[in-house]
């Protein structure tokens, strides 16, 4: 949810889209509180087992994430080259993220083969299926809505979860490299995204689709968190 130091301004239509997105985000954030494992993190009753569960369930989504984002990049035609460039840079930034997850998992006593063989939970199936389907459509501008939710979460995870995990488990930043990394990088990604909302290529209907996609992704992301270990 971060912004850079420099002043950024948006046109009225992009402002409206952003207001809708912010409300979807705030609703999503409220619902996150009710996810048992995150609630324990909030109440500082989070255990190493909880953290391993979190990492195990995130790896398949991270792997899938790099796939749909690469697919989306290839679905944009030349007139959307600004969005394509952004997405391509993003894909490069994150396509080997899972190695960080694996290292974090091992640093708190998990076995590499366990996390590497972790299956997608049923929420991840739904989320990955939806995103891949959208990414395959021509010029999937609506995926800016998906990125708003996912990057926003990355930013939140780093700002609060990583610190909370370090506190609960008495571990250093070395055990939360994945979460910490996203905090720093997702900030830049978010700012790019706000700029994209103001792009000339975003017509009225696209704005509606961006908002709708953000809603679907927020719901499916929650489903993924609700269905931990349900593979």
């Amino acid at each position: 949810m971060a912004l850079s130091e420099k002043e950024m301004t948006l046109g009225p239509k992009a402002q409206e889209t952003l207001r809708h997105l912010l409300r979807i985000w705030l609703d999503f954030e409220r619902k996150l509180i009710s996810i048992p494992i995150l609630r324990r993190l909030d109440q500082r009753t989070f255990t190493p087992e909880d953290y391993r569960t979190l990492l195990l369930n995130m790896r398949p989504q991270v792997i899938e994430g790099s796939r749909w984002i690469s697919r989306a990049a290839s679905s944009f035609t030349a007139e959307y080259s600004d969005i394509r460039s952004m997405i391509l840079r993003h894909a490069v930034d994150e396509h080997r993220d899972y190695t960080m997850l694996e290292n974090d998992f091992q640093s708190i006593g998990g076995k590499l083969e366990d996390i590497q063989s972790a299956k997608r939970n049923i929420g991840t199936e739904a989320l990955a299926g939806y995103l891949m389907n959208e990414a395959t459509k021509p010029n999937p501008i609506n995926l800016l809505g998906a990125m708003f939710i996912i990057e926003g979460l990355g930013n939140k995870m780093a700002s609060s979860w990583a610190v909370a995990i370090q506190e609960c488990l008495s571990v250093s930043e070395k055990s939360t490299t994945f979460l910490s990394y996203h905090g720093e990088n997702d900030e830049t990604h978010m700012n790019k995204l706000y700029e994209m909302l103001d792009g000339k290529s975003i017509a009225h209907e696209s704005a509606d689709e961006i908002v709708k996609t953000a809603k679907v992704v927020a719901r499916l992301y929650l489903l993924q968190l609700e269905e931990f270990d349900n593979t």
Binding site: R19, L22, R23, L26
Partner: protein
């Protein structure tokens, strides 16, 4: 369906007991707990920015008023500036965080002291938005044409909870930020409005365009409370935490003295959740914009029961980016000089705004009351209208 009528705030009044107490004298007024100065006071005062406030206490922490008396004084002040007399009042709505007696409702006591009626009464009880709940009830009665006018008064006497003896009564007292935060935040006072179904004959009135109240109690834990020594017992994980019901509410203890000794009667604020109060408030504001009920750039005066310095960091930048930021110069508050008087604050602020002479016909006033108790937020839009003598009506 009958056509809805309009309702207007046509007069207002404030009552603040005693002399203003500044930060240098605040602890002498409320008392040094076990004779020792507070270690947290300075930090808390710096964060809330309040410079002076009032207490209905004498120098030995004895009450100088009842809560009822503050409400009555504010009502009389309000009626003094009105174009009706108190015998014409046909609805009395009274809001407070805590009345003088557990029962009956505070409105009964206020009515008796005002010596008005028979008439309909409403008592609302909550925290900061209780006044807006009372106001909305009265507003709607006028709108449907059931009443022609109403007194709505919000009154608080928090000092009873803040005096040193409350803290000294707790055995093995360990004062932490949660139990001391509000001691340096809240103070006493009352504000009253007269609502009428038509504007004043002469002078400015405030038309109430709408009031929206939304509670998120099912999403969040207790953030501010009195009556339990463990706010987490009331959390959403209730069943998980449930051990016994012996010490849930202050009323569950064998004796009230036990409840007090166990710290169940201290007023508490969960500071960890305060950031969420701001977020919920922002969400409600964005909804109002998206629903077309308000535009950020049409607001001439923004009256918020929250200091602007709470809105900082990313959320502020995002609001700006989203075209939903109300510029600092539009904010009006008298929190720093009149104190945070809970649900009375918004009325006391509007009373002062009305009397500053800065309002102009046609201007829009937007009010927000975020209640931290358990996340109940109230929003109101007012329009400044001129007197009927101007021929506009």
């Amino acid at each position: 369906m009958t056509e809805l009528r309009q309702a207007y705030i046509t007069a207002s009044g404030t009552y603040l007991p005693g002399d203003p107490v500044d930060n240098a004298n605040i602890e002498a007024k409320l008392g040094y707990v076990h004779g020792k100065p507070s270690k947290l006071k300075k930090r808390i005062l710096a964060s809330n920015g309040i410079l002076t406030r009032h207490y209905a206490l004498d120098d030995k922490q004895r009450s100088t008023h009842q809560n009822r008396d503050l409400a009555v004084a504010a009502t009389r002040e309000c009626l003094k500036g009105s174009e009706i007399d108190e015998k014409s009042v046909d609805l009395l709505a009274v809001a407070s965080t805590q009345g003088d007696l557990p029962l009956p409702g505070l409105a009964s006591l206020v009515q008796a002291e005002l010596a008005i009626g028979p008439l309909e009464i409403i008592t609302t009880h909550g925290v900061c938005s209780a006044s807006m709940m009372a106001l909305k009830s009265a507003f709607n009665q006028l709108r449907v044409g059931e009443k022609k006018n109403a007194i709505v008064v919000a009154s608080e006497m928090a000092s009873r909870l803040l005096k040193k003896s409350r803290y000294e009564a707790v055995s093995n007292l360990r004062i932490d930020l949660e139990s001391e935060f509000l001691r340096w935040m809240l103070s006493d006072g009352a504000g009253a409005f007269l609502l009428q179904d038509k504007p004043r004959w002469r002078g400015l009135s405030l038309r109430i365009d709408w009031i929206e109240i939304v509670s998120f109690a099912s999403h969040y834990d207790l953030c501010m409370s009195c009556g339990t020594n463990n706010q987490s017992l009331w959390s959403k994980d209730f069943e998980q935490n449930q051990k016994n019901f012996h010490d849930f509410s202050w009323q569950d203890y064998t004796s009230y003295a036990d409840a007090e000794a166990n710290g169940a009667l201290l007023i508490r604020q969960n500071l960890k959740l305060l950031e969420d109060v701001v977020k919920v408030g922002v969400d409600g504001f964005l909804k109002l914009i998206n629903d077309g009920k308000i535009k950020a750039d049409e607001i001439d005066h923004f009256v918020c029961h929250y200091s602007s310095h709470h809105f900082k960091g990313r959320i502020l930048e995002l609001l700006k980016l989203a075209g939903a930021l109300i510029p600092e110069e539009k904010w009006f508050t008298n929190l720093y000089t009149k104190g945070n008087t809970g649900c009375a604050s918004i009325f006391i602020a509007l009373d002062e705004l009305l009397k500053t002479g800065s309002l102009k016909i046609g201007q829009t006033i937007f009010c927000v009351v975020p209640e931290s108790g358990r996340f109940a937020n109230a929003y109101m839009k007012l329009t400044v209208v001129g007197g009927r003598d101007s021929g506009a009506f």
